[in-house]
Every structure is written in C-alpha cells, then in structure tokens.
C-alpha cells in the first residue's frame, strides 16, 4: 500500500490506456453527475460493474486489485451495515431483530436494535455511488499519465493554475505514501514497533509519531515545488502546447456520453416533475415507467 508505484500510472497497451485522457475526464464528469442523479440500485450496480470491467480491460495487476478491493469492501460493508442499523426514516421494516425491546438493559435503553430493510437498500445505494467513483478514480489514475490529465483539464477550459494544482495533488499522493513508509521504516530501525501496535492507544501514538515527519517533509517539498514553478513563470500566461484534435472514436464516445446524459437527464426531470405533482403528461408514461425503474 505504501509503495509509490502502486499509486502511479503504469504504461500499457490496452484500450483503456490508449483512450484519450480528455474522453476519460468527460467520463469522470458524466459518472460523477450520474451517480448523484440516479437513484435506481440496478443502474448504480451496472455502473459499478462497468467501472470494474474497465479495470479488467486495463489488466489491473493483482496488487492493485487488492488495494481497490480493500477500499471498496470498506465502503460497501461500512455503508450498508451502518445504514441498516441506524436508518431513521419512515417507513422502515425490520428484517432482523438484533436486540429485542424486551431484552434486559440494552432493550429499554435502545428500544430494540434492528436491521432495517430500507436502511440496507439506502446503504447499498450510497455504497454503489461512492464505490463507482472510487473505482473510476483509480482507473483514471492508473491508466493516465498526469501530464495527459493536465493537458486534458486545460483542453476542457479548466484554468491552467487549477489544473496544475489538481494534477500536482494527484502526484503528491503516492509520494506522501512512499514517505510514510520511509518514516515507519526509520522508526522501526530505531526500535519502535510501529505497525504492530494493535491497541487503539498504540495506533494513535503511531499516527502522531508518523504524522509530524510526513507533514514536515510534505511542506518542504511543496515549498520547493512552489519556488521551482514560480521561477519558471507559473501564472504569467505560460500555456501548454495545443493538443491534437480528438480522433473520430473519441468524438463518438463524447457524443454518446452527451446523448446519454441529455436523455437520462430529461427523463429524470420529467419523472421528478410528475413525482412532485408539478406536471404529468399521459403521453410520457413509458418515460415515467423507465425512469422509475432505471433512474
């Protein structure tokens, strides 16, 4: 996990690697918007599955799959279990009674602890939203060189300064993790059992002992970087060389994304209008039915 190479982009010849960075960024925006607007668990699951299929297509290594799996497992189980137990909306249907209201001590105190069916469903939806973005974020970072990302962001009219900061942030993440590993190794050489502290107090102590050196090194690195880019005229109108126009395939992918977003957005809007009682058009019944089931 602390290996720098585990977080950085890796060269490859797969279709995912060859896909234009600009298209990947548009897909990121589409997915980000989609997972917020879509409420259907089925569609969200399909989006998550499609993103994971992207990892398969990109031939993500076992080590990276492990990292991704750990993050996604925490997101899925954390969200579903917590929402299932603490869901407070109505209606809520208990699936399993963990602590009966009549149970001694805990029963009267909690009024009963249940796994709620609606909470489970809500947790699943939230989990799939975050997992989709997490999985796609990893896919983007692992298959796209930071320079290509920077050029893509600039191409899509994001101010150069903001694009630079975003990509620098991405590049800093593996560096920080690598430095964390260095700090922990150094501490172990000095006799501290940093990674063996399983108790909460030990974990907090380790975190504090690790945090300060990593923070100090990060600040030092940031200052160096700032001076370096300032000395090269950062922010004074310097721009990247123009990118080549999108290929036909890239344009087609973008057009497909745009069409999907517009159509789904319009269907969702119509559904929201009828759901809230603002407008109902009998002729749009098929659209309503589709939106209810899939959006």
């Amino acid at each position: 996990m602390f290996s720098r190479h585990l977080w950085e982009a890796e060269a490859g010849r797969t279709l995912v690697h060859r896909l234009d960075g600009r298209v990947k960024l548009v897909l990121l925006a589409v997915l980000g918007t989609g997972v917020i607007l879509i409420d259907s668990p089925r569609t969200l699951f399909l989006l998550l599955a499609a993103t994971l299929a992207g990892h398969l297509a990109a031939r993500t290594s076992l080590r990276r799959w492990t990292l991704l799996a750990v993050f996604l497992l925490v997101a899925i189980w954390g969200s579903m279990v917590s929402q299932a137990m603490f869901y407070n909306q109505e209606p809520r249907s208990p699936l399993v009674c963990l602590v009966a209201p009549a149970a001694p001590v805990l029963g009267p105190l909690t009024g009963g602890v249940y796994i709620y069916q609606e909470g489970l469903a809500y947790g699943a939806v939230q989990a799939m939203r975050s997992c989709t973005m997490l999985a796609y974020g990893f896919l983007l970072c692992w298959t796209t060189e930071p320079r290509e990302l920077l050029r893509g962001l600039v191409f899509w009219r994001l101010p150069y300064e903001l694009s630079f900061m975003a990509v620098t942030g991405l590049r800093f993440l593996p560096v920080v993790l690598s430095e964390t590993a260095t700090v922990i190794t150094a501490q172990r050489l000095r006799g501290l059992a940093a990674t063996r502290a399983m108790s909460p107090a030990g974990a907090v102590g380790t975190a504090f002992r690790t945090l300060w050196p990593v923070l100090a090194r990060s600040l030092r690195r940031a200052v160096t970087l700032a001076m370096s880019v300032e000395s090269r005229g950062f922010g004074s109108g310097w721009r990247l060389a123009a990118m080549p126009p999108l290929t036909a395939g890239g344009k087609a992918a973008l057009a497909g994304c745009l069409a999907a977003v517009v159509l789904a957005g319009a269907a969702k809007l119509l559904y929201v209008f009828q759901f809230n009682g603002w407008a109902h058009f009998a002729a749009c019944r098929l659209v309503y039915d589709f939106a209810r089931q899939w959006l």
């Binding site: 994971l52 076992l62 497992l73 009966a100 069916q117 489970l120 699943a124 009998a282």
Partner: protein, 476 residues
C-alpha cells in the same frame, strides 16, 4: 503461490463475493423463484409445487389496519396463474410454478386482475395518474390494448389522489366490466368519492358507462356479476355520516346489457352505527337468481333477483362490553349453488379501531353458511382474519387466514381448505406469516396463496412476501 499473493487473492475473492451478494440483493431479491420437489404439505393431501419470492415490502405489525396485499387469478383452463404484487409486478406462472413472464407496472400500482373467459387475455387494472386498464396477451405478457378508463374520474397529482381500476370481471361472452374509483379530500376535510363502472368489448371498445355522464359520489369498493353478464351488483361504503349522497343506497343492481339501474336497496343502519357500509360485497349468484350482501356491522342479507330482501341475519351484532361497543367487521358474501356464505374479520373497538378491546367478539374471524332459504348450516372459526375466499367446483372453499389482532396467535396463519356445505376444514396449508390472498384452480387441483411478513410485538419478523403453490396429490 507466495503467502503475499495468497493474501491478495483472498482479499479479491472476498470482494468478488461481496459484489456478487450485492448484485443478488439488487437484482435477484425480487425474482427469487424456488421450485420445490413436491414436498408434502398439511396432512398430505397437497404437496408444495413452488415458492416464489415476490420482492421486498414494508413489514407491518398488528397495529396496522390495512395490510400487505396481493392478487391471484387462475386461468379458466387452470394452466396459468397470474399474480399481481404490492411491489408493482404482474407475474404469470405455469401450473408447475415456472415464471412465464413478468411485467412491471411502472408508475402504477396493480389493483385488479382478471382472465378473459378463453384464458387468452389478462386484464390488469392499475391505480396511477393515468388510471389505465391493460389487456395483455396471457401467453407472452405483450400489451394488446390499454384504456385510460379512470381518466374520467379526474386526478390531483399534487395530492397524489389517483384514479384506479380496482376490480375487473369478464362474463362468458367476453364482455369486460371494470370498476374505477378515486378518493380525495376536500379543503374542508370532507371525503370526496368518485366511482364509475365501465363495460368494454373484448377489443377494448366502450359499450356503456354507469352512471353515464357523471361519476358516483359514493365509495364503491366491490362489484359482482352473474356468469352470463346480465346482472351486475355493487355496494357502497360511504363513511362520512353528516353528508348527503346522491348515491346513498347500499346495494345496486344494474342491467349489465344496457348499463342501467335495475333496482337498488337502502339498508337502515343498526345502532351504534350511523351508516351501513358494504366493502367486500354484494355478489350475485352465477345464474343471477339471488344477491348476497354483508354489511360491516355484521348483518348478512339475501335479496331476490328483483331486489326484494328475502332475509337478514345478525352474524356479529355489536356488543357493548365495559362501556365500549365491540364489532367483528362483516365483509364477504357469496352464493355457492344452494348456499350463501358470509365472513367476518377481526374485533374492533367501535369508538376507535386502534383502541384495545377487552375480549374477542364471538362472531369474529368466522365463516357462516346458510341455505338459500335462510337456514343456518354451519359456522367455521378461522382463528385469524379471513382475508380472501376462493371457490371451485361448488364444494371446495379455500380461505386465506391472516392476522388475529387480538390473540396475536401466528399459529392460525395459512390457507385452509373447507368442504361445503358443512364448512369443515379438511386441510390446513400452514404459512409462517399471515396470508393475504388465495386462489383455487377451476379443476380444483391447485391452490395458491400469498403470504406476507409480519412483525410481532417482540420485534421479531415472521414470514415473507411470497407466493405458495400447492397441488393436490390425490383424491380425497
């Protein structure tokens, strides 16, 4: 394989399993059909053919007045079973329990199902802003035609007051009768009812409407027809006591050929009630000779074909105990050959149904059989609410037994098969949760039931929202 790789593969496999479980939860939970290999049920007369999960519904408890619903209809040739679920699906099964097709109702809620007399078409009524009735191809589920019947009753999408087709009947000639209604509340808080009956040709063409040019200002919850489609009967359930209704009578009989009123009858209320309410009746005999009706106050009635009241019986008269009136609500009324069958459901406090009652009404949760002449023949105590009855062959009655809100005994839940005319229970097909619906195939070989989940007072959940299909394993 190195230890680190083994660990990595383990993590990835756990993730794959979690993802598969999530996928099953998202896609499979609503479609879990499980065919069973002929397990014996009850005393061995029936064997279980299939069990089908009908999706996830809100789990209700004993404090709910209404309960989870479902609709079951066998095709006239007993070859197919149509299921309408609370989760908004129409499912067609073979008699072996295989799912032939599914059709989501989308925005609508499935509120009525009926096969055409030749079994080739399935009529589906929905409650939605469009209030459609659909005619589907029974073999494929493909839509043949649809009609926005309930559009004439208006809609208020802001208050979600939607029209719905709540009962469909088809006569032997193929004519289709659809009862549509809409409930709303006026600005003054008064209940506003709109009801209408439509007669359609098998192709969906309008033949007549009742009443023509307007809607009934009455809550019409039930409609029955004779086999030939010559007479149609319906009752009213107008709850507001201070209001004057134009359709104020309790039993109406229509000439089903012309869509005109043949006769109507007003039944005076019985104390302490101020209105006579009919929610699950009346019904007319297959030959049109008699009309049976059951009022919520526990009175059973039999009318002649011309509307004369032949007799009435107090099956669960309100009883005043400890200063409160107890009432076992009367609901169903059917005529089976030479007998009239009436049912009652749970005991309620007349002042407020949510308040407790000290005892069960002795006439509650029971099925009563009378001869057409009015002679008491039999009484069967179900132990729980009689949610629905189904008939076949003139001698067999299947009863779906649900919650008993007073004794709260889950042991009564299930489908009971009774033998007429003695109403003797010859089989109990037990289910964990309360039963919400029942159907019997015309060949008497199959019994289907819908079970609902129930939360007990200790917080535990019993049962599930599922369909049960049993087949008779031998002749009795």
């Amino acid at each position: 394989m190195r230890a680190s790789d083994l660990w990595r593969w383990s993590v990835v496999l756990v993730f794959a399993a979690s993802l598969a479980a999530l996928g099953w939860y998202v896609f499979g939970a609503d479609a879990g059909a499980r065919r069973t290999a002929g397990q014996e049920a009850g005393s061995g007369t029936y064997r279980q053919v299939a069990q089908l999960s009908l999706g996830q519904v809100e789990v209700k408890n004993y404090q709910w007045m209404g309960f989870t619903r479902g609709i079951l209809r066998f095709s006239p040739d007993s070859g197919r079973l149509a299921v309408g679920t609370e989760t908004g699906q129409v499912i067609m099964l073979s008699r072996a329990g295989e799912v032939l097709w599914r059709r989501p109702a989308g925005l609508g809620k499935v509120t009525a199902l009926e096969f055409s007399p030749d079994g080739a078409a399935l009529y589906v009524g929905e409650t939605s802003a469009d209030g459609n009735m659909y005619c589907l191809d029974a073999a494929s589920g493909r839509e043949r035609w649809k009609s926005g019947l309930a559009a004439e009753l208006g809609v208020d999408i802001k208050r979600k007051s939607h029209p719905g087709v709540i009962r469909i009947l088809a006569d032997q000639a193929g004519w289709v009768f659809a009862l549509a209604q809409r409930y709303d509340r006026s600005a003054a808080g008064e209940s506003v009812y709109r009801g209408k009956i439509f007669c359609l040709s098998p192709e969906g063409g309008a033949i007549w409407q009742y009443p023509a040019g307007e809607a009934m200002d009455a809550w019409v919850n039930w409609m029955g027809a004779d086999a030939q489609g010559r007479r149609l009967v319906f009752g009213t359930a107008n709850f507001d006591t201070d209001r004057r209704y134009r359709y104020a009578k309790n039993v109406y009989c229509l000439d089903a050929v012309r869509g005109a009123e043949a006769w109507s009858a007003a039944v005076e209320p019985t104390p302490p009630f101020q209105r006579t309410i009919m929610r699950g009746s009346p019904n007319i005999a297959a030959d049109g000779g008699y009309v049976a009706a059951m009022a919520s106050d526990g009175r059973a009635f039999l009318f002649a074909a011309d509307g004369r009241e032949l007799w009435r019986r107090h099956l669960s008269a309100p009883q005043k105990i400890a200063g409160v009136y107890l009432n076992a609500v009367g609901r169903d009324a059917y005529i089976l050959g030479d007998y009239a069958v009436f049912t009652t459901i749970n005991t309620y406090n007349n002042a407020n149904w949510q308040l407790p009652t000290p005892v069960e009404h002795p006439g509650s949760n029971s099925l009563f059989v009378f001869t057409i002449g009015g002679e008491f023949t039999a009484k069967w105590r179900a132990g729980g609410g009689i949610e629905e009855m189904a008939f076949a062959g003139g001698r067999l009655i299947a009863v779906a037994v649900g919650r008993n809100t007073k004794t709260k005994d889950p042991g009564v839940h299930g489908i009971y098969v009774l033998d007429m005319p003695n109403a003797a229970a010859v089989e109990k097909l037990a289910t964990a949760g309360p039963c919400a619906a029942v159907a019997v195939s015309p060949d008497e070989r199959l019994v289907a039931g819908i079970e609902a989940p129930l939360q007990l007072d200790d917080g535990s959940i019993i049962g599930g929202y599922r369909l049960w299909l049993w087949q008779k394993s031998g002749s009795r």
